[in-house]
Point group: C2
């Protein structure tokens, strides 16, 4: 193989596919990036067996072929070479010559035959989204997945399509995050659980432009994201997702409306009195027109009052402040509605249109 | 005590004195910031017994007094409060009320009597420098101190004043860094060894403006830096510094002139083929008009050629690339002169004016 590419192209390619390079592995080939020529194109690929990414880079093919190169060293070299054309060349052996201006590197490569290629995903059942929308709904829900060893399902997010409705759901046993969007087109029903890691990496790679598209393809065991010059293929999590609809509830005894930014700043301030290991709840007391937020810990105590609009009963309820913060951070509305029933029942933050629902379980607390 | 200060003032004060708060200590009082009123001023102080910092903050004194507060919690609170006036109040007990708008914190304080106050340094022997100059000479030498347990002297820098000449020196057994500057005024001779940690922290606090002054005062065991609203008092390292003048040498067999930026980029590129634990030297081959830089490691090999001007003999010499990088990074000249004698003798990077000298010991290497 012999290719010549601008440094910029190599750098872009490396930064995209590196997301699927294994960090912890006993198989050195999983730490490699595959570079290959294929039908007049230059492709870079990485695959950690759960997640695979392939992207096209632009350059000149002098000689067809393929080689696997340690991702870390290759990325370091590309990063520090001058901004000029870079030649990558293999001879019959597994060593790779990388050359730019008067600089010559020779590094060991690996036989490309050892590399596990991406599974073929047929381009059927294509769902089209804007990159902006996909990036947003991931950001707005990804924080409530859980890497609970006992329940693999919690490490993924439910992606559910019915007609032109898309719903994305994550939950960790203490809270549920739901976002709904309306798609441009209608599709057959789809219900899959995508690993959180995949969604995280995809959301880092896509530009997030409103005019840029991402196309999703589904097979029984895989999902493929296709955008720009890149495809991302990931395993799906097998099994049936939690029945969340029966956990949702529109009854309430207390409804309050509060300025989101004020409430977020207030709760954020409480957290400095809590160390990580410590599970101190904040206590929220709702009376007419006022929300009193209190926290007491070994490091001190804090009390703050916020103005609110209230309907229904007064209530005194405890929360893990982190769960409130996570939800409030990803809501864009200036004013938000919070619904409560009693200090033992889930609390809901949701809008009237139902485009977002954040369910948070309260925690027990001692009155002080 | 009761004071009211704008948040900005508190934040500025905390960020300055925090540099002298102990991170690792079994004495909780060393993790505190002392706040006190003194002769109509509000002072914040921290002291880790090696280094003490005191700074004035501006605000209103409602009631005189003093209290020690855990630096970490206090700084978190100040950081997250709204940008408004903050009231800090103690009653007879050791608890502290911090209040801003509708937000109330109560945190435990510590009795100020436990606090170790800064040693008094008489304002004699004042040496005046611009903050810019002090910051620069620290940056240009601090990298070659060493925290060698067997030789405390290496953890400091020699500060030597003769007439209107100031010389600052650091060394770690493999290299020596020297900067000389001419002061505006003449002073009595001074020769002290200042802990590297002190210089590091001072250089972080000072703004580095060319019009801002810093005044240095010396006693037998202490140095005090005074600038803006702040004083930094530090112990000196006791004992006699290394006799460096006898290590310096102006003989050479090879003199070369090279573009600094090109040489730095080149050597920087070699380091990606070296892991931290690995002590691979780079090999530099000097011939007429050309410097060839080579490195061979388990991760690959690299070769690069640079154009140079050369006088004297050809030479093949090995270096720890980090030492060259450290020196080259802090030299501002576009073209630099490097002087060598043989592959076993120290190499010197210096200018004709003698304002900087970087001595670097070569290392053994196997020719490949």
């Amino acid at each position: 193989m012999h290719i010549i590419c601008p440094r910029e192209e190599l750098q872009k390619g490396v930064s995209i596919v590196s997301k699927a390079v294994s960090n912890k592995t006993t198989m050195p080939i999983l730490e490699c990036i595959l570079i290959q020529t294929k039908e007049g194109r230059i492709l870079m690929t990485a695959n950690d067996m759960e997640l695979g990414i392939e992207t096209e880079i632009h350059g000149i093919i002098e000689d067809n072929g393929r080689i696997a190169i340690d991702a870390k060293i290759f990325s370091e070299i590309v990063r520090r070479l001058p901004d000029n054309d870079i030649s990558i060349e293999t001879d019959g052996t597994d060593s790779v010559k990388i050359q730019c201006e008067k600089i010559n590197f020779t590094i060991p490569g690996k036989n490309a035959d050892e590399f596990t290629f991406l599974p073929e995903v047929e381009r059927l059942n294509c769902v089209t989204l804007s990159q902006f929308t996909l990036k947003e709904i991931i950001r707005q829900t990804i924080f409530s997945i859980s890497d609970n060893e006992n329940n693999k399902m919690m490490a993924g997010e439910l992606l559910e399509i019915n007609g032109n409705n898309l719903r994305i759901v994550s939950l960790d046993g203490h809270r549920i995050s739901i976002r709904k969007i309306v798609l441009k087109d209608s599709y057959d029903s789809i219900k899959v659980v995508v690993p959180g890691k995949t969604l995280n990496e995809v959301s880092k790679i896509i530009s997030g432009g409103t005019d840029d598209e991402v196309r999703l393809y589904f097979t029984e065991n895989h999902v493929m994201f296709e955008f720009d010059d890149t495809i991302v293929v990931s395993r799906l999590i097998e099994g049936e997702y939690f029945r969340i609809d029966q956990m949702l509830n529109s009854d309430y005894d207390t409804k309050l409306t509060v300025n989101k930014k004020e409430m977020l700043s207030c709760i954020d301030r409480t957290t400095m009195l809590i160390k990580d290991s410590d599970k101190k709840p904040i206590i929220i007391g709702i009376t007419d027109h006022s929300m009193e937020v209190k926290l007491n810990s070994a490091y001190g105590s804090m009390k703050e009052e916020l103005a609110i609009d209230k309907r229904g009963k007064d209530i005194l309820i405890g929360f893990n402040p982190k769960f409130l913060i996570d939800a409030l951070r990803v809501i864009d509305d200036e004013m938000i509605n919070i619904y409560m029933i009693n200090p033992k029942a889930p609390c809901f933050i949701r809008n009237d249109e139902g485009t977002y629902i954040y369910l948070i379980l309260p925690v027990n607390f001692n009155v002080y």
